[in-house]
């Protein structure tokens, strides 16, 4: 399934370790999965840019021996849009979190999906703002305890995969931590996809979220994921009423379609105008 002999260290900036991540955090695993996908795709690291905003997950580009653009809170996708349009040859991968891309950066997320720009967004959903100490985020489950919902969260959370499907993303997938083979294969597909790819990975945050919500061991966290997610293949078997009543997060590859990609269409426009100009010059 994947190269178990891979020495992942060749992709890392060793002088950045030890990392900032807490014990039990899922972000390091996402880095591992991403780099394995990058390795299998034989991506040229000189031609790859890892863009991020602010938050724990946004610190990932700092650990990768490649180009990194660690930007302002919520704006990673907007910065990445400039990088990609200026040089479409670059592979542009965005690391972001639920707060970064769904709250302060929500506008950039939906518009990048709408444009179908060839970017890959890897969004780590830990259901809270971890870096600032565990506040409610737009994906915090109903009733959960956080430092800003001490009596239980009473706002309905976003289903970010649904949101970006609605906005026009052409590759959308979601996996909880604990499905390494599926996740690596999914990131590989997302990067190779010609268009806007959005991959959500559900990850534990013991410091900010899971510990406060009676999920104190890996076993309990795993059981929560099992109980609150449903594979897309199983979801498809539900009848219409059951689908409407479903409150579990659907996991798996949720959308994979082709639609006109922004940089390809722009290049066509440039070529068309150049041909027209040449005809004017010749006549």
């Amino acid at each position: 399934m994947f190269n178990k002999a891979l020495n992942i260290h060749k992709y890392l900036r060793r002088d950045m370790y030890p990392s900032i991540f807490c014990v039990g955090c899922g972000i390091g695993s996402v880095l591992n999965h991403t780099l394995r996908a990058v390795d299998e795709l034989k991506m040229d690291m000189d031609k790859s840019v890892f863009v991020s905003g602010i938050g724990c997950s946004s610190r990932l580009p700092g650990y990768i021996d490649g180009n990194g653009l660690h930007t302002t809170h919520g704006r990673a996708i907007a910065f990445a849009t400039g990088v990609k349009l200026a040089n479409p040859e670059l592979n542009v991968i965005i690391f972001t979190g639920d707060g970064d891309c769904a709250a302060i950066g929500g506008n950039h997320l939906i518009h990048a999906a709408r444009r179908n720009l060839n970017l890959t967004v890897i969004e780590m959903n830990n259901f809270n703002y971890g870096m600032t100490g565990g506040q409610t985020s737009p994906t915090t489950p109903l009733g959960s305890n956080t430092t800003t919902s001490p009596y239980g969260n009473f706002e309905e959370p976003f289903d970010l995969a649904d949101l970006v499907v609605g906005a026009g993303a052409t590759f959308v997938a979601r996996w909880p931590l604990g499905y390494p083979y599926e996740t690596i294969a999914c990131i590989k597909k997302g990067i190779a996809h010609q268009g806007f790819s959005f991959i959500e990975i559900l990850i534990p945050c013991p410091t900010g979220y899971t510990d406060k919500n009676d999920l104190k061991s890996n076993k309990e966290i795993w059981e929560w994921y099992r109980g609150n997610t449903i594979l897309r293949s199983k979801y498809k078997l539900l009848n219409e009423q059951e689908q409407d009543q479903n409150h579990k997060l659907v996991i798996g590859e949720l959308r994979n379609v082709q639609r006109k990609e922004y940089t390809t269409e722009w290049a066509k426009l440039v070529n068309r105008l150049r041909d027209e100009q040449d005809r004017v010059d010749d006549s």
Binding site: T71, T81, H108
Partner: protein
């Protein structure tokens, strides 16, 4: 590559292609359009923006012309995204631009600070309108002089230029791109709704009149390259772009010369921020651009910038005809502030009038610089009304010890 400043000429084929797309060498243009022309002649190949009065014509012009030159144009979802895309594009190797007005400029401030911190060359045209808030969208103002200098949080320096004609909109935008590359810093072109929307004759510069400052490239091997280490007295580090063997990590966090973050080291922070400030202030003299008229024997003077200078020069000429020894100092480079020119003038004249289309912004900086023997008076005009020449000449003739004229704000 030529000397350390990286001044080369744009290749002639590019120049000729741009001129072919722009059309007539002499034309009758709006200031906003001239900014777009100046950008293209500076080699600008990326624009991201969001519609806003009175700056939209720059975006409209580039939407039409940019794809014909093979560059990129994108209308973003807001101004925060626009400046973000501009910074991203710069790191991917583009000479990048956005254009906006007050409300959009306010939204851009956090990322302008990011551009300063990450030493990203880029150009922002701010066609000023009356504020605060939505204010008077179609009316000119000069209300963003201090926001340009201090709008983002923390300590930083910015370069800003204030054209007073449509021709200067072209010339200053072109210059802004070269300064952005030379100092690896954002540069703001501060026009206003009047300069941006009025139409005047514009002459496109000839090929050998155009300077082209190329980005400083690293000269060391990739393994030895430190993207935030100054290598000479300019204090401006060479800048590799994404996609080369010089892998670069960029962050808005306080960082080491390698670019990697170090957030609790007072020495590293002080060293970084001091260099970012000094790389501009050390070049204050080179960055000083003023127009001086009738100053040799002046006893009173006006210090002025932007559209207001056109009226002020008229007022000074009229006073001269009446035998009054009035002088005129126009600030073209606003930031870093041309301190020496203002200080010297303050030592020579007894009174300085500062007409501004705000309730008094640069007047405070001027007052700090001149000796007590020189009276400095603000002459505000807000609401979108450009001063009348008579108001300026009358202020130059009025002893400040006498009562303030009716309706004039005492600042």
């Amino acid at each position: 590559m030529p000397g350390p400043a990286g001044v080369v000429q744009m290749d002639k084929a590019s120049y000729e292609q741009i001129c072919r797309i722009l059309g007539e060498k002499r034309s009758f243009l709006q200031g906003d359009v001239a900014c777009a022309y100046g950008a293209l002649l500076a080699g600008c190949d990326f624009f991201a923006g969001y519609p806003i009065t009175p700056a939209t014509e720059t975006a409209e012009t580039l939407a039409r012309l940019m794809p014909r030159l093979g560059g990129a144009f994108v209308q973003m979802e807001d101004e925060i995204a626009s400046i973000a895309a501009v910074i991203g594009a710069s790191w991917a190797g583009s000479r990048s631009l956005t254009a906006t007005s007050g409300p959009g400029f306010s939204l851009m401030q956090e990322n302008i600070g990011y551009a300063c911190m990450s030493e990203t060359p880029c150009v922002i045209v701010n066609v000023q309108r009356s504020g605060p808030s939505t204010g008077q969208p179609t009316e000119p103002a000069q209300g963003d002089m201090m926001q340009t200098r201090w709008g983002s949080h923390g300590d930083y320096e910015i370069i800003a230029l204030a054209p007073n004609s449509v021709q200067e909109c072209l010339d200053m935008t072109l210059l802004a791109f070269n300064l952005a590359e030379e100092y690896r810093n954002p540069v703001v072109v501060l026009t206003d709704g009047e300069v941006g929307h009025m139409r005047e004759k514009v002459i496109l510069p000839e090929y050998d009149e155009i300077a082209f400052t190329a980005r400083r490239q690293p000269t060391v091997a990739p393994a030895d390259y430190l993207p935030f280490q100054s290598v000479d007295e300019s204090l401006v580090p060479p800048m590799a772009t994404f996609g080369t063997a010089y892998r670069t990590y960029v962050t808005g966090l306080t960082h080491k010369e390698s670019g990697l973050p170090t957030t609790d080291d007072a020495v590293a922070h002080t060293r970084l921020i001091t260099r970012l400030v000094e790389k501009i202030t050390r070049h204050r003299v080179e960055l000083t651009r003023v127009e001086e008229q009738f100053l040799d024997d002046a006893e009173v003077a006006v210090i002025v910038y932007g559209i207001t200078s056109r009226v002020a020069l008229n007022a000074v000429r009229t006073l001269r005809q009446q035998g009054v020894k009035a002088g005129y100092l126009r600030l073209i480079g606003i930031w870093p502030f041309p301190e020496e020119k203002v200080r010297q003038l303050g030592e020579r004249v007894s009174r300085i009038i500062v007409p501004e289309m705000n309730l008094g912004q640069l007047v405070h900086r001027i007052r700090e610089l001149v000796p007590d023997s020189c009276q400095v008076s603000a002459l505000p005009s807000i609401g979108g009304r450009v001063h009348l020449p008579a108001e300026i000449s009358s202020a130059l003739m009025t002893d400040r010890k006498s009562p303030e004229p009716e309706g004039q704000h005492h600042v």
